[in-house]
Symmetry: C5
Subunit: 251 residues, 5 copies
């Protein structure tokens, strides 16, 4: 569980609940089932229309990624692990690590080092891993873009709902007493749209972007390390080059 | 038929209808023929003014593309097919596949492999196919941009219509009873503009973008495969390189 | 005359006139000479302040370009013409086409082929033509950006005019009967600004962008063709390479 | 004095004055010293907070640049001058022009040709001049960005001022007669913010951008010319290459 | 202490206080604890949800960076120092500067020159330092983006708060006297959001961007200088190349 995503979302919604409670009119004026249906339903419908079925199916798994804490190693541990593998290979040959590679659970690391064990040359290894990384980036960016689109669509559906409500209210001004509540209901779709955009889609989009860039940085270190091992560079060189990704000193 | 486009659009409009029904004032306040004419007519007029006739003529075919499910193979089948062709050519020579290529219906695949059958060298084949891909991308981006422009124009025409309506209403405030309905009618153009932008142009633009990037990815795999076959690389290498585009493992 | 620009603009303004007529209060509430002066005058003044005199002078000629139908050949005719020239040069030598080149009216084609006739080597010809193309692109982008700026400025001047009008109205609320008409007049500048942005600057900007990208594509084909002729490539190769720009098959 | 900047700004403000005069309520409702202080003071404060002191000090000199007409040569004269120098150097040697170079007042031209006179080799000359150009671009872009930021900040400070005013007005609704004037005052900060953004920062930003791109184009021609002279290319070649930047024929 | 950041922020807030004082209704209508909680709390919650814990922890240190005056040398002093080191190394060998390097407090300079002292070859040194710079840029951009996001989120939370307040007010219109104050309170969240966006997040974002680009420029000069020393170029060349970054002449 990614504590900051879960905690941030929970606290965000709690502050909204607090705002409503402090408003003193209770929850009832804020709940309008038709408005909920129109904004959420409309956003789902438009999103379904905008994306391919295969991408829509990956949406829940993308949400799980945003909610889970990162499963792969942080950069410092990763660099250490690569240096460990490089030393083992230098000492005992590439076959010695075969079993250990199979037990790794970072999939990109596993694939890169299985190719190393298979004896792939650096000039084949690097473009191959870069192709894999590139396709991963495309898939991630589709999902990040999907949450961005959801935020925009929820805002638009909210505005459309409010306009529909305003027209209904204005067409029926005979009873002045009903103007206030009707206007309140009309504004609810805008509120729902803003809430979905800020407290769901925006958080997902940004968190996935952060996790994506961490993963890309980690994949780049793996490609860099694997290619240096394949090129049989010295352990000293590999250490120096990989540690450059860890510049903690400068701020 | 692309079920997600059709279903999404249908459901989206159904939610709007639902919103109106639940509003309780019936459909009549939402229908104003002059407003429809101004927003739709104005958007068509501006779009015609913004684009070349040759591009305007391609608009309906672009809409068909967005509504149809993708006709060409998914990446995994495509990779498999290219490997099959590569193996056939390795075994029986390039002439052996000539007939099969003619029967292919993925046009980019067909063109690439016909060039292969014609014995084009890799250093001519790749820039040729890349030129074709590049021109395809330009044409697609013109259409994607056209739907983006339509969304923006519909919003502007909606705002213009509302301003025209507001001025009419304000210039004629003598009858207070007419203010509400007049205001309602004025808001209708904004509503129509937002509906066109969200539930037509936005969906088309995004869906075409998705289909476009799928097609580009598929064309890149074809170029990659055809160039490796032309360069007479080993089947093992071709397999390994093409499969890198299918990284299902990493998420 | 570019029929889609002229027709689109005419139809667009006609729809606005229609909207006003259908509004039932006549044209008088929509005409306010001071508002016209402020929005149009202010937009011209700001645009003059934003651009260099030399660019401002090119504005009317840019508008003529947007209104005229494209004078140079479409890509298919252009490719055909280049292949014709290539064949003539192959058969009868470069001097044979000298007279015909002088009669060409596509200026970029003329310049490129005059350089060919002058016997310039391909390694000098290509960077020379690319420099020309690059400077043409810069000049076109300045004009496209100018119309984009005009749209934004008209919107801002409209908003400023409305604020000026609102302050006048609010400072003088003593006569309630005048509020409506005063408010109507205040809104007119916003309306004028939106009309200029949508039905003038936006159309010009987009149409010039379209024509620009057509011209760039055509110049690139000319550079490509001329460099292949200069390099004395075979007619077959030239045909194949140039035709790649015409991929009509794929959509 | 750059006539279009000065004239545009003067005319723009004159149109605003005209709008106010034509509004018929005089200048008094438009002047509110506290609002002026808040918008201008706040914008200055935020801008000071956003930029480095060294950049803030360059602001007035940037404004002078925007207001002055360009001091260096137009491209055609520049090309002519470079060709003149190239011919002199060809005929009489590089020492012959030493005195003339010292009298040049285009600083980039002077630096480039002093390096030529010093006998720097082209492979050192070009990266050196490009470094200089690159640093000039960075410094210019900081100033252009500063005026962009000022426009945005003025708009935000205007909105903040209006909200402050609205809250004051709403908290004190007891006297209905004061609502109008209070609202008018509240709107003034938005008006001031829009005026600063449109009729000061926007004009400066755009004019500096125009002048910057003219200067970059001129520096690029100088680098190009100087490197060809250093490489001892023929006068004919230098002429042809430099003239390519002057494509007046194509539009 | 960075005087322009501190002074700008202080003056900005002082102008807001002034605006409120001059509004004449005192501070009480501007203070609403629930609104403060909702906007600030909600913004913190959403930001926590959007970023990784490791990045959130760096936020206060990033704010300190924005508030402190730059600790490292300005470009002219830096260039002078590098030339001094280059001369020392030329004269007495690289070991002679070892002790001085250890006493440097610019961390990037120290790292670069320690590598020089260690005798790293230029072809290893440059990519190593560039990797370090690249990772520093990524980390800085994450922080700059975080403050940008905070500004946007504060605006959204302000709008959400206002909508919540409006719904409460409209649902409870029975007492007309309460409409004004209720509306005032509803607007407060929008005001708070705009203040956080303009007078906190916007200033931080822009100041960090400025400091970042200064630091990158300084790191690039260090990389450039160190690589020329490692390549044993002449002091004259080093001087000329480094001084190109200081083009004070051209404006």
């Amino acid at each position: 569980m990614d504590k900051s995503t879960a905690g941030g979302l929970f606290a965000g919604w709690a502050f909204i609940v607090l705002a409503i409670v402090l408003g003193g009119v209770g929850f009832i004026p804020y709940v309008d089932i038709p408005s909920v249906i129109i904004v959420i339903g409309g956003t789902i419908a438009v999103t379904a229309g905008q994306f391919e079925v295969s991408d829509l199916k990956r949406m829940t798994s993308a949400m799980k990624v945003a909610m889970k804490s990162v499963s792969f190693e942080q950069l410092p541990e990763l660099v250490e692990k690569i240096i460990f593998y490089a030393t083992e290979i230098k000492k005992h040959g590439v076959m010695h690590v075969e079993q250990k590679v199979l037990e790794e659970n970072n999939p990109f690391f596993k694939e890169a080092f299985q190719l190393l064990v298979d004896g792939i040359k650096p000039d084949v290894l690097v473009p191959l891993l870069e192709t894999k990384l590139e396709h991963m980036e495309k898939r991630h960016n589709t999902m990040i873009g999907m949450f961005g689109n959801i935020g925009g669509t929820a805002g638009s559906m909210g505005m459309i709902g409010t306009l529909v409500g305003l027209v209904a209210m204005l067409a029926n001004l005979s009873d002045p007493a009903s103007v206030g509540p009707a206007m309140a209901v009309a504004l609810l779709t805008t509120l729902y749209g803003a809430l979905i955009g800020t407290l769901f889609a925006g958080v997902m989009e940004s968190k996935l972007t952060q996790k994506h860039s961490l993963e890309v940085a980690s994949c780049e270190v793996i490609i860099n390390g694997a290619s240096m091992i394949a090129a049989e560079e010295s352990i000293g060189n590999i250490k120096m080059r990989l540690n450059a990704a860890l510049v903690e000193v400068i701020e």
